[in-house]
C-alpha cells in the first residue's frame, strides 16, 4: 500500500486568492475594475448632472467647482458624460468578446477535433476572415447593420471570432492527443462526450486567457467605432464619441481629450492585466480538493 499523500502537503499550498492578492499590480487592477463597474452600474445616481442636458451659457468651460472636469461644446458636464460612458464601453466590450468566443469556439473545436474536410473548410474561412484587418471588417459589418451600439458589438464580435476559432483549433488538436482522451474513448465515450467532458474543459484555458487579453482590444475597437460615428450615437455619452467631439474643438479646448482618453487607456490596461491574471489563475496545477 502506498502511503496516503500527507495532508500537510496540501495545507502548505497557499490559496489561489491569497497568491493573487500578494501581487500589488493585481490588487490595483481589481480595485480599478471594481470601481469602474460600480460607476458603470450606478452612473445615474453618481453623476452630478444629466449627461445630455445642454447649458449653452457655459460651453467649453475648463474645470471648476461646479463642473470638476469642465463642460463640452454644448455645455454638457464632462464628468457626468464620462460616468455615463463607462457602461457602454465596459459592457459592450465584454459582450463583444463573449459573442466572438461563442462563434469562434465551436468552429475551432470542430475543426481541431474532427480534422479532415471539416478542418479544411473551417480553416479556409478563418484564414480569409483573418486576412481582413479586424477594424476594417468591423467597419464593414457595422456599415451593413446600421449605426448603433448593438450593431457595433455584433460587428466586433464577428471580427474577433476567427482568432478564437484558430486558437481553439490549435489547443483542441493538442488536447486531442492527450492520453486521457484516448482513455475515455476506451471506456466507451462517444465523440460528443469526449468533446464536452474532456477536450473542451482542457482546451478552454487559452480561450479564457485570450478572452481576457481581447477585452482591451474590444474596448478600443468599440471606442474606435463610436469615434468614427458607427457605434454609440449622439447625444448618448460614450468615450469614443466624446473624443470625436474633442477632435472638432481641439484648438479651442484641448483639455476635452484627456478625461475620455485617459479613461480608455486605464481601462484597456486594466483589462489586459486581467487577462494576464487569468493566465496564472487557470493553471490546472492550482486546482485542489
Amino acid at each position: 500500500m502506498a502511503a496516503p499523500a500527507s495532508p500537510q502537503a496540501r495545507r502548505r499550498r497557499p490559496s489561489r486568492l491569497r497568491v493573487l492578492l500578494r501581487d500589488a499590480g493585481a490588487v490595483v487592477t481589481l480595485a480599478y475594475l471594481a470601481l469602474l463597474l460600480f460607476v458603470a452600474i450606478a452612473a445615474s445616481w453618481l453623476a452630478p448632472y444629466d449627461p445630455v442636458r445642454l447649458d449653452l451659457t457655459a460651453t467649453l468651460a475648463g474645470p471648476s467647482a461646479a463642473h470638476w472636469a469642465g463642460t463640452d461644446d454644448l455645455g454638457r458636464d464632462v464628468l457626468s458624460r464620462l460616468m455615463y460612458g463607462a457602461g457602454p464601453s465596459v459592457f459592450s466590450s465584454i459582450a463583444a468578446v463573449m459573442l466572438a468566443a461563442m462563434i469562434g469556439v465551436p468552429f475551432g473545436l470542430m475543426a481541431g477535433f474532427f480534422g479532415g474536410w471539416v478542418d479544411a473548410a473551417i480553416g479556409r474561412v478563418t484564414d480569409a476572415l483573418l486576412s481582413f484587418p479586424t477594424i476594417l471588417l468591423a467597419v464593414g459589418i457595422a456599415a451593413v447593420l446600421g449605426t448603433s451600439l448593438t450593431n457595433a458589438v455584433i460587428a466586433i464580435g464577428i471580427a474577433f471570432s476567427p482568432g478564437f476559432a484558430r486558437l481553439m483549433r490549435a489547443t483542441t488538436m493538442a488536447v486531442k492527443q492527450e492520453l486521457y482522451v484516448e482513455a475515455a474513448r476506451a471506456i466507451g465515450a462517444g465523440p460528443v462526450w469526449l468533446l464536452l467532458r474532456h477536450v473542451l474543459p482542457n482546451a478552454v484555458t487559452p480561450v479564457i486567457v485570450n478572452a481576457g487579453l481581447l477585452l482591451g482590444n474590444a474596448l478600443l475597437a468599440e471606442a474606435s467605432l463610436s469615434f468614427l460615428g458607427l457605434g454609440v450615437q449622439p447625444p448618448q455619452a460614450s468615450w469614443g464619441g466624446m473624443l470625436a467631439r474633442a477632435l472638432i474643438y481641439m484648438e479651442r479646448a484641448p483639455e476635452l481629450m484627456y478625461p475620455p482618453g485617459l479613461a480608455l487607456v486605464l481601462t484597456a490596461l486594466a483589462f489586459n492585466s486581467l487577462g494576464e491574471m487569468a493566465r496564472r489563475w487557470l493553471d490546472p496545477r492550482s486546482l485542489s480538493g
Partner: protein, 332 residues
C-alpha cells in the same frame, strides 16, 4: 511466406483471437508507411494471462490498443468472444467496450487533470447510464476502496496523488464495468520499483477475484514471467516466439529471446547467468522499411545468407511452442 499462418496457437475456445493483424500508419509527406504491427496471429484462452514482450518500437503498444478497439487494423481481424470488433458499427463497438479494458503506461496522463478521481472512476458508469447517480457513486467508491484508494483520496485531483495511487485509480476505472478482458500496456513500468510489486500483486488478486483474462504488454521480462501463463516475444511488428512461460524461460528457442533472457540481471534461474551474455548489436531497425527476410537478422548472432533471402516460417517447434527462425531447433 508473406504472413504467419492464420492458424491460432492457443486453447480451443479462446476469448481473444487475433488473425493476420497488420497496422500500418501513413508517414506524413510520404507514400511510405510505418509497419507497427505486420502480421500477428494468436489467441488467448479465458482466464489466462498472455505476456507480450518487446523493445520500444516493436509495435507491442499498438497491438495492445488494437486489442481493445482503439486503433483499427489495416488488415486482419481482432475477435473478442468470437466477434470481429472492428466489423461492428461505431455505436455498437462503444457499447461493447465495457467488456475489454486497457491500462496505460503513464498513470498521470491517462487521467483528466480537471476531474476528481472519483468522477473519473464513475465515468464509465455514467457513459453506460447504469443505475442512478447515487448508485454509480457508491459503486465507484467500492471499486476504489477495493484497489486501495480511500474515500478521502477519491475526492482529490490526479496531481494530488502519487504515481502508484494514480495507477490504482486507473485500474478501478477499468474494472468498474466488470470487463472480462484487461490489457495492461506497460502498466507498471512508469512506477517506482517498490510500488511495482504492489501493483503487480493487485493485478493477480483482481484476476482471481473477477476472473479476468489479461494481456500484459511489457519490456520487462521478469514482470512478464511473474504473471503470464504464455509469453509472446515481439520484434518489429512480428512475433518471434510464442509459447508457455515455463518452456520459454527454461529453453528459449529464438536467438532474440535468448538475447533478451541473457540480458536479464536478476530474478531468473542462475544457470542463465552462467551462459555467455548475448549482447544485441545496434538499434532496432526502422519499422518503415524492415529488413528483408528475417527482421531480426541485422542484429542476430547466428544470421546467415538465407536469413536475408527468405522469411522464416512461423512453425511449431514443440507442442504449443512457436517460433519464426530458420535455425533454432528444440532441444526437447
Amino acid at each position: 511466406m508473406s504472413a504467419p499462418a492464420a492458424r491460432t496457437t492457443a486453447a480451443a475456445d479462446p476469448i481473444i483471437r487475433v488473425q493476420a493483424l497488420k497496422i500500418h500508419f501513413p508517414v506524413r509527406g510520404s507514400d511510405e508507411t510505418i509497419k507497427a504491427v505486420d502480421g500477428v496471429s494468436f489467441a488467448v484462452a479465458a482466464g489466462e494471462t498472455l505476456g507480450v514482450i518487446g523493445e520500444s518500437g516493436s509495435g507491442k503498444s499498438t497491438l495492445g490498443r488494437a486489442l481493445v478497439g482503439l486503433i483499427a487494423p489495416s488488415a486482419g481481424t481482432v475477435e473478442q468472444r468470437g466477434e470481429d470488433i472492428f466489423a461492428l458499427p461505431a455505436r455498437e463497438l462503444r457499447r461493447r467496450r465495457r467488456d475489454f479494458q486497457i491500462i496505460f503506461q503513464d498513470p498521470h496522463a491517462a487521467l483528466n487533470p480537471r476531474r476528481r478521481v472519483l468522477a473519473s472512476v464513475r465515468e464509465p458508469l455514467d457513459i453506460a447510464r447504469e443505475g442512478g447517480t447515487a448508485e454509480r457513486q457508491a459503486r465507484a467508491l467500492v471499486m476504489l476502496e477495493r484497489v486501495g484508494i480511500g474515500a478521502e483520496q477519491a475526492e482529490r485531483y490526479p496531481h494530488e496523488l502519487s504515481g502508484g495511487q494514480k495507477q490504482r485509480v486507473n485500474i478501478a476505472r477499468a474494472l468498474v464495468l466488470r470487463p472480462s478482458i484487461l490489457v495492461a500496456d506497460e502498466a507498471t513500468s512508469a512506477l517506482d520499483v517498490s510500488i511495482q510489486a504492489d501493483i503487480l500483486n493487485l493485478y493477480l488478486e483482481l484476476q482471481a477475484e473477477f476472473g479476468l483474462t489479461y494481456v500484459c504488454i511489457t519490456h520487462d521480462l521478469a514482470v512478464a514471467m511473474h504473471i503470464s501463463d504464455r509469453i509472446a516475444v515481439m520484434y518489429l511488428g512480428r512475433f518471434m516466439e510464442y509459447g508457455p512461460t515455463a518452456a520459454i524461460s527454461r529453453a528459449p528457442l529464438h536467438p532474440y529471446t535468448k538475447a533478451l533472457l541473457s540480458a536479464e540481471p536478476v530474478a531468473l534461474p542462475s544457470r542463465f547467468a552462467q551462459d555467455a551474455r548475448i549482447v544485441l548489436q545496434g538499434e532496432i531497425p526502422s519499422p518503415i522499411a524492415p529488413p528483408s527476410g528475417c527482421r531480426f537478422r541485422t542484429r542476430c548472432p547466428i544470421a546467415a545468407d538465407r536469413c536475408a533471402a527468405e522469411e522464416p516460417a512461423w512453425r511449431e517447434a514443440a507442442p504449443g511452442h512457436w517460433i519464426a527462425c530458420h535455425f533454432a531447433v528444440s532441444d526437447a
